[in-house]
Amino acid sequence: MIFDTTPSQTVGPYFAIGMPFPSGPFAVADDAPGAIRITGTVYDGAGTPVPDSLIETWQADADGRFADLHGYGGDSEGSGFRGFARCGQEDGDGSFELVTVKPGAVPGPGTTMQAPHIDVSVFARGMLHRCVTRIYFADEADANAGDPVLATVPADRRETLLAQPTDGGYRFDIHLQGPGETVFFDL
């Protein structure tokens, strides 16, 4: 027998009473070798920050291993590597900052290899279902050029998936709608 899924509902309002936890923004330990900060802001279609937004990220470690049940690639040797981060405090400015390492390349469909990327779920009050996007890295031009997923994204929108280098990390803003709308995926 095949069952139907339970439908999604909005995360808001006031998810901050239940969802955040102290180590949430740390996909790796703060002092892990190669730790970087990825900062950004979630904007709505009017260009206004979305203060009641929540983002979650999931990624491989620097060697392309996942800290999950599949044990893909073997146990991560990264210091305190979890690969998952959750950011969102409903505290007013719609910004997030997570601490992680740049992931390694991992296999894609068929014989392809994927460029370093981080999967992202975006939730907010006013969103009845999550939106899924990916963070790629602007300074990985060669790997990005061969990425099988980026190849399917309209060329004039790929820029929205590229985190831009900053001091100590990267910046990745998310535009739910409007000019520069972030590419979201059908998963």
Partner: protein, 248 residues
Amino acid sequence: MTTSEERTIYDPVSETPTSYKREPAGAHPPMDYEGYKSTALRHPKQPLVYLPQTITEITGPQLGGLAGESDNDLTVQHEGLPIGERIIVSGRVFDTEGKPLRSTLVEIWQANAGGRYRHKWDRWPADLDPNFSGAGRCVTDDDGRYTFTTIKPGPYPWGNHYNAWRPAHVHFSLLGRAFAQRLVTQMYFPGDPLFPYDPIFNSVRDEKARERLISRFSIHDTIPNWALAYEFDIYLRGPGQTPFEEAH
């Protein structure tokens, strides 16, 4: 005894699917729903891009350690008992094949008995309850079962339209066992008179799908002289047919 088909769709090491079934249109609410005004500026207008399910999507974090031993009892987090009707909320988490999902993190949060959330932005003039924070966590057992003890939340007004009230609800977050299996939803109580008027509940357009958001009263799980029980089973996406999907 495992059939070859089961071996194909569930990874032998992780016992999780090697791909997830694409969900039919209407399985979830539309991102742009006129009745719920806040969706207007918060939904993508560009078409979604098809994402093949790669290793990144079929894997997921293991966060069971987040749930402390008594985190599933929202009535014992403070010195005194919270005000309101103590209830048990329990159920099982399955995938759409009916396979129980064990070791899955379940997180809940909710308003108190007066419909007030413990959040600085909630200005609804119902008192905060010093004995109720309104958040809990637990991990499903080998049968996919979770159990919470909490207080029945109250309905509360909101600004979506004139005389708008949310039916009583408990927010649920399920991590699932893969990035592709993530779900955030809300659980409602049977027979709520506010159902016809709530655009969030009614954003799920299919009546049968809406019913899956409503818990059932359970005399079986009700604890004599202690707490009424509500049962809420949750179904997350199940496996697709092939180990890895090709991009197309």
